[in-house]
Amino acid sequence: MASSTEAPPRKNRVPRRPGDRIFAGVSTGSGVLILVALAGVAVFLVTEAWPALTAPAEDIPGGQGLVVYIWPLLFGTLISAVLALVIAVPLAVAIALFITYYAPRSIAKALGYIIDLLAAVPSIIFGLWGMNVLAPVTVDPASWLSQHLGWIPFFAGPPSSTGRTMLVAIIVLAVMVLPIITAVVREAFTQTPQLHQEAALAIGATRWEMIRMAALPFGRSSIIGASMLGLGRALGETMAVAMVLSASAGGITFNLISSENPPTIAANIALQFPEATGVGMHTLIASGLVLFAITLVVNMIARAVINRRKDFDGAN
């Protein structure tokens, strides 16, 4: 379509009004400030973590070096977040389906708000709820699990008597990331082209067959992206885990129902920070840096997946 005129583009020097120049400058400056702040997050964290990175192994809490200190925490972080996701994703997809396709139209929006309310509950409240309400409830089922399903490493036991276990932390995390995943997936479902849905229904598909033919394929990358988003949130969740697991300490184990649980990086920072000084403090910040890096990667992947779908949306 390009025409072949070789006339050089005439630079039209438009005098810019001072008001425009100032306003454009200020708003651009704000954007740049955000970039600077983010770079600052990285730089400051590295600076404050540096003494721990260079300190001799015996100075690090535990006396065996930074890697040995952080590794169990990292393990706890990953296993709690991943298992929370295993619970939350199928539930979130089901809830999104329920709200978009099964609930009566008139109350669908209200149901969406109700699920969003879950996201609004502060994590401190989930922490209190987890240790006071959920933990005791799980004691009996946990002992049943260890008796009957003890051969699965997750339920090896012995079961904790307080119920403040990894299992409870995982359930609380799942509840907390549920609304985030639901929101993104629901968005995708509502955008499923009417045309595809009607095409499926017109050839005699049941509701579920229509969903399988039209909605799920269309929403697939959103589901993946939303799961990554939820993973990022679960990895970084601090207080709820800290409160549920504060009474326990342990190394690397897949056992979810004993009182010996590996804490997570975030929870460990919250628990240790108020009393930490010197190298201990720098060590905590170093572990925070690790968490930052992981969530950064997870979120970047999430965004990339979600945005790739946007290119095919057609709506702009």
Binding site: L117, I125, L128, R207, E209, I211, I269
Partner: protein, 361 residues
């Protein structure tokens, strides 16, 4: 449709309607599914009340028996496709109900445990000199208000201006980079935001620093991306025709943005900002490491430790005083106050977006 005359008998299926399929054939009687549901629920209730089983297995059993009965029945009468559809319907509805459980449980618990301390002393006193019963959260409420207010003051201008840059000016690499990193920023764990603010203030004030301002900075890191996102969304909704109408009246661009674009998007932006406040006002972890805790009133964000509701609640529970029950009551009380604030903010946001949205039609 082309009718082939040469081979009429080869593919009769495609050229003649199937016929003979009754439109009402193979249906479960009306009320079959709800009836089964009621029966299953009653059976579950009986097991719980009379046989003395625990609640959870009873509920599970009732749900499972409903699913199994309806599925087999439907499969026999309506065929496998319909049966699968019914199965999925049950599954999906069950998932929704399951998700409501924790929400209801959380609300009931917080309200019933927190109401114990809803007295005048609780809202007017601080914790200065209190070791046993009594005491209040006045200092914590003020601290929450001050720190969140400061965070809002920092985040809203930066966030809105950035959104304006992205929508009205942004082109090329810089805009792409900012969009991307705002997205990334949305995912920063709150504890990391806290560590960042702490590290920043350590550079300025030395190790061990605690002050309200640092807490506000930490919250801003969490708040800015939300504000940017929601403002951006709202600005994009403003039709271009309005901008053009304004330009055609010889209004310069910056005035067009300030006087036409922003007012049109204002309700949406206010909603977004309110939700952003609701999101950070309950944060605990970043404030734990930046603002810390103090028993008395400190309303100066640049001078030492400052208590907020969430941190207060955490410490009351984590390290109770002489009478543990009194501490726990305070913790739940503070949590209830926090929850009410957050729910109110959410409600306000909905009301703003309902009432003040400009009528475009």
């Amino acid at each position: 449709m082309s009718t082939s005359l040469t081979t009429p008998e080869r593919d009769p299926d495609l050229h003649t309607p199937l016929g003979g399929v009754s439109l009402t054939a193979g249906q479960l009687p009306r009320g079959a599914a709800p009836g089964t549901l009621v029966a299953a629920a009653v059976a579950g209730l009986l097991l719980w009340l009379l046989a003395g089983w625990a609640v959870v297995p009873c509920a599970l059993l009732a749900a499972a028996s409903y699913v199994v009965i309806v599925y087999t029945w439907s499969r026999a009468v309506e065929g496998p496709r319909k049966a699968t559809d019914r199965f999925v319907t049950a599954l999906v509805s069950g998932a929704f109900l399951l998700a409501l459980l924790p929400l209801v449980s959380v609300i009931v618990t917080v309200v019933s445990r927190g109401a114990a301390r809803f007295d005048a002393e609780f809202f007017t006193n601080s914790m200065l000199g209190v070791t046993g019963e009594g005491g209040g959260i006045y200092h914590a409420m003020m601290g929450t208000l001050i720190i969140t207010g400061l965070a809002t003051l920092i985040s809203v201008p930066i966030g809105m201006l950035t959104a304006i840059y992205l929508v009205e000016y942004g082109r090329g690499k810089l805009a792409k980079a900012i969009t991307f990193f705002v997205d990334v920023m949305t995912g920063i764990p709150s504890i990391v935001a806290g560590l960042f603010a702490y590290a920043l203030f350590v550079m300025m004030f030395g190790p061990g620093v605690r002050m309200g301002l640092a807490g506000a900075v930490a919250l801003s890191v969490l708040m800015i991306p939300t504000v940017v996102r929601s403002t951006e969304e709202m600005l994009k909704l403003v039709p271009n025709e309005l901008r053009e109408a304004s330009y055609a009246l010889a209004v310069p661009k910056w005035r067009t943005i300030l006087k036409v674009v922003l007012p049109t998007a204002l309700a949406g932006i206010a909603t977004g900002v309110t939700l952003a406040i609701a999101r950070v006002i309950g944060e605990t972890a970043p404030l734990l490491v930046t603002a810390g805790l103090t028993d008395g009133d400190n309303f100066d964000p640049t001078d030492g430790r400052m208590t907020t509701l969430s941190v207060f609640s955490y410490y009351e529970y984590q390290s109770p005083g002489l009478f543990a029950e009194a501490s726990f009551d305070r913790a739940w009380g503070a949590a209830l106050v926090l929850m009410i604030i957050v729910m109110l903010l959410n409600l306000v946001a909905r009301v703003i977006s309902k009432l003040f949205a400009p009528k475009t039609r």
